[in-house]
Symmetry: none
Subunit: 225 residues, 2 copies
Amino acid sequence: MSQQILIVEDEADIRELLRFNLEREGFTVHEAADGTQGLALARQYTPDLVILDVMLPGVDGFEVCRRLGAQSETSHIPVLMLTARGEEVDRVVGLSLGADDYVVKPFSVRELMLRVKAVLRRGGRTAESPVLERHGIRVRTEAHSAEVGGEMLNLTATEFRLLEDLLRHAGSVRTREQLLNNVWGYSFEGYARTVDTHVRRLRAKLGDAAPMLETVRGVGYRIKE
Amino acid sequence: MSQQILIVEDEADIRELLRFNLEREGFTVHEAADGTQGLALARQYTPDLVILDVMLPGVDGFEVCRRLGAQSETSHIPVLMLTARGEEVDRVVGLSLGADDYVVKPFSVRELMLRVKAVLRRGGRTAESPVLERHGIRVRTEAHSAEVGGEMLNLTATEFRLLEDLLRHAGSVRTREQLLNNVWGYSFEGYARTVDTHVRRLRAKLGDAAPMLETVRGVGYRIKE
DNA sequence: AGGGCATGTTACAATTGCGTGACGAAAACA
DNA sequence: TGTTTTCGTCACGCAATTGTAACATGCCCT
């Protein structure tokens, strides 16, 4: 039995794009054009993953996300959010409501496919709470919260995603380019040193744990192994 | 050897734009103005990536894409599709025929470059091992860290790349020419003995393992087999 | 043994890369 | 609407890195 994926997205061409690629990878695909229909299909098929656009007519993405979580207390359905740039708030709320990952539009098809597989691999139906921790820096992706040694950090959306990416690749150097792609998205047309500034702001908030975020001169940044 | 990219695009100014930017990034570029010519050049050069416009006179983009896939069953050539807005159908069909990503025209040059690199990184035919080791010298390319007998080395970016190259070709002699090309890049116009200086600096940091980095008089350097 | 090259060694100046603080614009919020 | 927060960019200064030159040493051949 192949794995089932539900797409909730109002733009037909994006639905098509996703369907073709997911089916090519061997998934069974269901489509919904709005939130209400999405919830209905989710109930009907209990898919292994829901790809969910934030901007939806009627019941919007994060409302769908919330109700998905409520409707099946026992079995958590992984959610991959699609969000346009500048929808930081939606994204944040979405993640705190149980989304497992998100991709910024316009996305690369390859990238999306990789994330789909990653989410399915790490969670599936028996998703453990994705908590990233290293050196007392703890990030709870679902709760969208970060703490250092028990002390809560007040991070902005960008800072959070930056920390999340670095922590997820702890021990490996992340180049500015990689960070720009993953944190800012492909369509970001900006200066690479923007990363530096955010690293600096992040360090300031990390307090004692700041030295764990190393600079690798001429390459990028990393969280110590 | 630099990576080769084939552009199949009928508009000359777009070809020029792409060529200029790709060559600046160190790629070797081939151009075709229509599908037939594109297929011919693909056969001739077996490029690492094809950038393919959907709208082409004669044999159109997705036909080219299909034939590309058919012609080389063994080695899949990554395809990046260029599609104008409103060509949604073409996009979908193209992707289902084996394209690896797409960019919507009018595209941002920066974004295109990022996607080119992303596609090449993933589908690269050079599946390089992430960990290189010889004689207790261990290099983790992803982490960008090097150690000798468990002891971390504090290498500069250039030293790291040098060690990586030597280690990757352990047992073979690397000429200064080769090292300059691989470590410094093709655009480096400098003195060959710059290599010597860096070898010395590297040796100093290698400590006990320094003798493993041999000089081959009149030829170059190598890591002992 | 000695000459001629190739490489090792050292020092230095120019360049590059990064941290830092400040600023204006845009977005979020009330 | 006005206020606050966040974001991206910039300019400056310091320090690490880098390429080169000049000199020293070692190797190979006759």
